[in-house]
């Protein structure tokens, strides 16, 4: 009997171990799994049994996945984690090969990138950029290092004290290449996880990214736009219906709240000592939309048009502005039957500006404050759609701070991926004054709108 008990305990702990590992895998791919949910999963599996794969999947899904959006990640993780040992071994082997190749490449950059036989201090990401360059471009950088190593200053050969200067120049060059290689914002990083299963899940999810919701908005093709437009409209309607609030009991203002008053005064024997009031009905939010139409945002033009148009058709009295070098009011120019594109073009013609110039958010905010002070009230939601690449960022940040004090909320939809924010000084300057969300896929937009704004 004790032996049997022991076997059962052993089996249970083996199941626990697998579940914890699986939960960890799910966490790595973005799900939030708490210990209590793992315990639910264990109980569920004990109840349903492990015989039927589909049932096991259903139990794990019901207890560990609490959001439909995570469904895909769960499916891939389940497929990979519960694959046959041979399959897992094959993935592991593939990852190991990749990692070895990667390590060799990084090692060779250590040999290549030297100044007077000293290794240069550059980050792994920069090394990775170098490793992904074409041989010709690599050679150019090596030549530069070679020449600077043997260079002279006023006839005297340079010594190692020049190394920081060379490093700076090299970093600048590699930064240029990173941006160039990174046009698509795909990070050049190590081959990912060293774990075969995880790397397989990551690969499968990347493949699934081909689906519209998670694809970068600038990559959506013309045929797919009607579908996307409908999605945006639906999201906008949802936003519009969210911005209402009903009566709420509050201390003063509005009419007397009889029920709440009686309730509060029961403690005084029913004598009305304290009074409760209803608060005034809060009006609908006034939305001011500020859209960046500068050169760097050109690729998101279609998205912005549709977003603004969808929002404007769902929210009454929305004030629209575009900005590039200056503020371009689009308010009051909506003619019946006119498309949004025509409206923007007309507005641009009137102001003599064109789509795709430079950006100066500071100037735009200044103009907004000066010319439209009535728009900025405690009921205003200022919605900025921009990648935060602007001239005079400090001025713009100060102005944004001032405006923040006058309005209810400043929401910034940033088309720049979040992982690039902290290395972009401009974004850092704006962060304290607004709620910034990365927004370059429809999936992002859906998430932002589903958080109750």
């Amino acid at each position: 009997m004790p032996m049997e008990q022991n076997t059962i305990n052993h089996r249970v702990s083996e199941l626990d171990r697998h579940l914890v590992e699986f939960a960890q895998l799910l966490r790595t791919v973005g799900l939030k799994v708490s210990p209590s949910e793992i315990s639910d999963a264990t109980e569920g599996l004990t109840l349903i049994g492990l015989v039927d794969r589909a049932n096991v999947e259903a139990v794990l899904r019901a207890t560990l996945v609490k959001d439909v959006q995570h469904s895909q990640a769960f499916e891939e993780a389940f497929r990979a984690y519960f694959a046959t040992p041979e399959q897992i071994q094959a993935w592991q082997k593939a990852v190991e090969q990749k990692t070895t190749k990667w390590d060799e490449q990084i090692e060779s950059t250590r040999k290549d990138l030297r100044f007077q036989d000293n290794e240069l201090e550059i980050t792994d990401e920069q090394r990775a950029v170098y490793a992904s360059l074409r041989e010709k471009d690599k050679q150019r950088l090596r030549d530069f290092l070679e020449r600077s190593s043997q260079g002279t200053r006023s006839g005297i050969p340079v010594d190692h004290s020049y190394q920081p200067m060379v490093e700076r120049a090299l970093r600048g060059s590699l930064e240029y290449w990173r941006k160039k290689l990174n046009e698509e914002d795909e990070p050049i990083l190590s081959p990912g996880s060293t774990d075969g299963v995880l790397s397989e899940v990551e690969r499968a999810l990347r493949e699934r990214e081909a689906e519209v919701l998670s694809r970068d908005l600038k990559k959506i093709s013309a045929e797919e736009w009607p579908e996307v437009i409908r999605l945006i409209r639906r999201l906008s309607q949802r936003l519009a219906s969210q911005v209402t609030r009903r009566y709420r009991a509050a201390r003063r203002r509005g009419g007397l709240d009889m029920r709440s008053t009686l309730r509060r005064n029961l403690r005084y024997g029913g004598v009305l000592v304290e009074r409760s009031y209803r608060s005034r009905r809060k009006g609908r939010l006034k939305i001011i939309l500020l859209c960046d139409i500068s050169g760097s945002m050109l690729k998101y033009t279609e998205f912005i048009w549709q977003f603004v148009y969808g929002l404007a058709s769902a929210v009454n009295g929305m004030k629209n502005f575009a900005f590039g070098e200056t503020l371009i009011p689009l308010t009051g120019k909506f003619k019946k039957g006119q498309t949004f594109e025509e409206m923007v073009k007309e507005a641009l013609n009137v102001s003599g500006k064109e789509w795709g110039g430079g950006t100066n958010l500071g100037k735009a905010l200044e103009a907004l404050q000066k010319n439209f002070p009535a728009f900025l009230s405690k009921q205003t939601l200022l919605l900025i759609v921009s990648d935060a690449q602007t001239l005079e960022p400090d001025k713009a940040a100060t102005l944004l701070g001032e405006i923040r004090r006058h309005v209810r909320q400043v929401l910034w939809l940033n088309t720049l991926p979040e992982r690039r924010w902290l290395e972009t000084p401009h974004v850092k300057a704006f962060l304290p004054f607004c709620e910034m969300y990365e927004c370059y896929t429809l999936g992002h937009l859906t998430q932002i709108l589903s958080k109750q704004i």
Binding site: L47, R61, T63, K66, R238, Y247, R263, G269, S450
Partner: protein, 309 residues
Amino acid sequence: MTDRMTLDQFEKALETAGYISERDDRIALTAFLATELGKPLLVSGPAGVGKTEIAKVLSKVFGAPLIRLQCYEGLDETKALYEWNYQRQLLKIQMGREHLQEADLFSTEYLLPRPLLQALLSEERTVLLIDEIDKTDSEFEAFLFELLGEFQVTIPEMGTIKAKQRPIVVLTSNGERELSDGLKRRCIFLHVEPPSVNKEVRILRAKIPDLPERLALEVARAVNVLRERLSLNKIPSVSETMDWAKALLVMGKTGLDAAWVDATLTLLLKSQEDVELFYREMGAGRLLFESSKATQGEKHADGAKHHKS
């Protein structure tokens, strides 16, 4: 719980109660899991796919009365949990000024239990349906934590009330807003998609016994095409499909035709925008054509399945 069911028994009981489910939709298994683990079941999915129905059928299966809390914006605990009977309390105060103790006023006698408290106080096991939880605000959601986690509530004047019998709790959400992690963590989660053609045919046949199978199939296919091909603001719900089928039956039709679809479209599409979208992008003729094409597709798929097996 005295008589525990197995999953098979539970699936059968669902079917006997008139609820059609398929293995692929995982509804039976997940609902079984929630009732057996004693956890609230959170059901999400578009409107009209049968989320509320799950609670109703659980009530039938377990012979437990259904207590329903319909959520809306601004719902607070006085409407959901309890309210003091002020009039009675005031009367009592007036009647017995000298001998009155505070405890006299705050006893169950003066308590008006609302759905949540009713479910906790009930002597027999109940099914508590908290419908459209996404319509409430996050404060109310947080307020539910104690109930959903521990099956108890705290009334400041009286103390903690524990459930006499743990109710089976079903929460539904249309996904209008994201629910908090805390709430989700406490629940077993089920996402319900609109039914497949086969399942819908089974539902139609179960609910409208007079409906010929061929007609049920045509109706289910046409509705399926509407759901999948058009990006409607509101997809036709199962009950709307049933209304449509009933209308066909009442008018003595034996099959779908374009003129009939035109005449009865408003039974399925309830907004002008959706009707316009339908005529702009599809039209009745195309709908019938697409559903007959779907028939062929299904045949192929079936053939492949048989072949495989």
